[in-house]
């Protein structure tokens, strides 16, 4: 696997991106049925479906290079092999301020990452990123609408504290120049970023749940 991974320098980025989208999609889906109101039940469920669809497409692209398949990449690795950011691992159900803060920070960072991938020399990756960008536009609008709404509400301070708390991990979603771009977009100063080197304690229980079927029946497809 590693030898072939050398062939495409983008593979590391793609896998990290796919892991982010899969895990965040999983976390978003935890709001299904218990969001503050029905519209948000629908919105977070639909966003979750979108993120997991993007994860699948990215895994498929990586899998074709690595000689495996998307489900194997998504479900057959051990928790330490996942490259997702601590930002997406956090279980935030029941805290709407943190949920909206993560959503807004993640979608903004994601727009920077996707814009860069659209310029990739790898035509399939650039095309896929452009397709994802069309869909992500609606995630961004939803995130912005909620960030604006909470900032204009009596919960403003709580929301800003949530953004402050998550900011180091949000910055760690990106590398290099892309971090400066994110600072610009969200109007925040750079801090020491929390990168992808270590997982939070919240990944393991999520992984247990997410991979249960594949671990019970190796190779299961559904």
């Amino acid at each position: 696997m590693n030898a072939r991974a050398q062939a495409r320098p983008e593979l590391d980025t793609i896998l990290a991106f796919a892991d982010d989208e899969l895990v965040l999609g999983w976390r978003d889906s935890e709001w299904t049925g218990i969001a503050p109101f029905l519209e948000e039940d629908v919105a977070f469920s639909s966003i979750a479906q979108g993120e997991i669809g993007h994860a699948r497409a990215l895994y498929e692209l990586a899998a074709a290079e690595l000689g495996t398949d998307a489900d194997a990449l998504a479900f057959d690795r051990s928790p330490v092999e996942y490259r997702c950011s601590p930002l997406v691992e956090l279980r935030l159900v029941q805290d709407w301020a943190l949920t909206v803060a993560r959503h807004w920070l993640y979608e903004t960072a994601d727009s920077v990452r996707v814009a860069a991938l659209k310029e990739s020399d790898w035509a399939e990756l650039a095309g896929l990123a452009a397709k994802m960008d069309r869909e992500e536009a609606y995630h961004r609008m939803h995130a912005q609408m909620w960030a604006d709404r909470l900032r204009a509400s009596s919960e403003r301070e709580r929301f800003e504290a949530a953004v402050e708390e998550l900011w180091p991990a949000a910055l760690g979603l990106l590398e290099g120049d892309q971090r400066a771009r994110l600072c610009e977009l969200v109007g925040r100063e750079p801090v020491e970023a929390i990168g992808r080197d270590e997982h939070t304690d919240e990944l393991a229980p999520l992984w247990e749940e997410m991979t249960m079927v594949r671990r019970s029946v190796p190779g299961a497809a559904w």
């Binding site: 699948r56 397709k131 869909e135 536009a137 609008m141 912005q144």
Partner: protein, 161 residues
């Protein structure tokens, strides 16, 4: 003898699994058809990457090609070639008649929050433009929910992609 023209005709009869009033050809997801010695290659782009109907679409296209006596090969292309601007005029009319407001044309910079919160969207039931956004997201990834103040009911608005 299976020909590209007959394949296009057959695919124009394959309904979208989630919005069966419109066919896959109306939806603009069939990008190319090539026929050689009875082998039929169909190039197809899904609407949304997370669309769960993709596998059903593929199966139904295969079935339609086999009925013509062809051997199908459906290639799913995940590039940037599909936009709601590819929905045919006939497809847009079928959507409207069935209570789905067809998508607005896509502008170069793509849709914005200001645009989708505007009153420019027409209710498919009564034709009023006195409508407002209820939810950016709806029952499938491709639809939003709007409320019509004219006839006082919600309707589904196809997102511009």
């Amino acid at each position: 003898m299976v020909t590209a023209e007959r394949v296009w005709e057959a695919l124009a009869e394959v309904p979208d699994p989630e919005i069966p009033v419109i066919s896959l050809v109306d939806l603009g997801v069939v990008r190319d058809v090539e026929v050689e010695d009875g082998r039929v290659r169909v190039e197809f782009t899904p609407t949304f990457l997370g669309c769960p109907a993709v596998d059903v679409m593929r199966d139904r296209m295969e079935e339609a090609v086999r009925k013509l006596g062809g051997e199908p090969q459906i290639d799913v292309v995940l590039d940037d070639s599909w936009s709601t601007d590819r929905i045919t005029p006939a497809g847009r009319e079928k959507l409207r008649e069935s209570g789905f407001a067809p998508p607005a044309p896509r502008e170069a910079a793509g849709p914005t929050l200001v645009q989708i919160q505007s009153h420019a969207f027409r209710c498919p039931y009564c034709g009023s433009t006195d409508t407002r956004l209820e939810n950016i997201f709806g029952p499938t990834p491709c639809r939003s929910i709007r409320w019509c103040a004219g006839c006082r009911q919600p309707f589904e608005q196809f997102k511009t992609i």
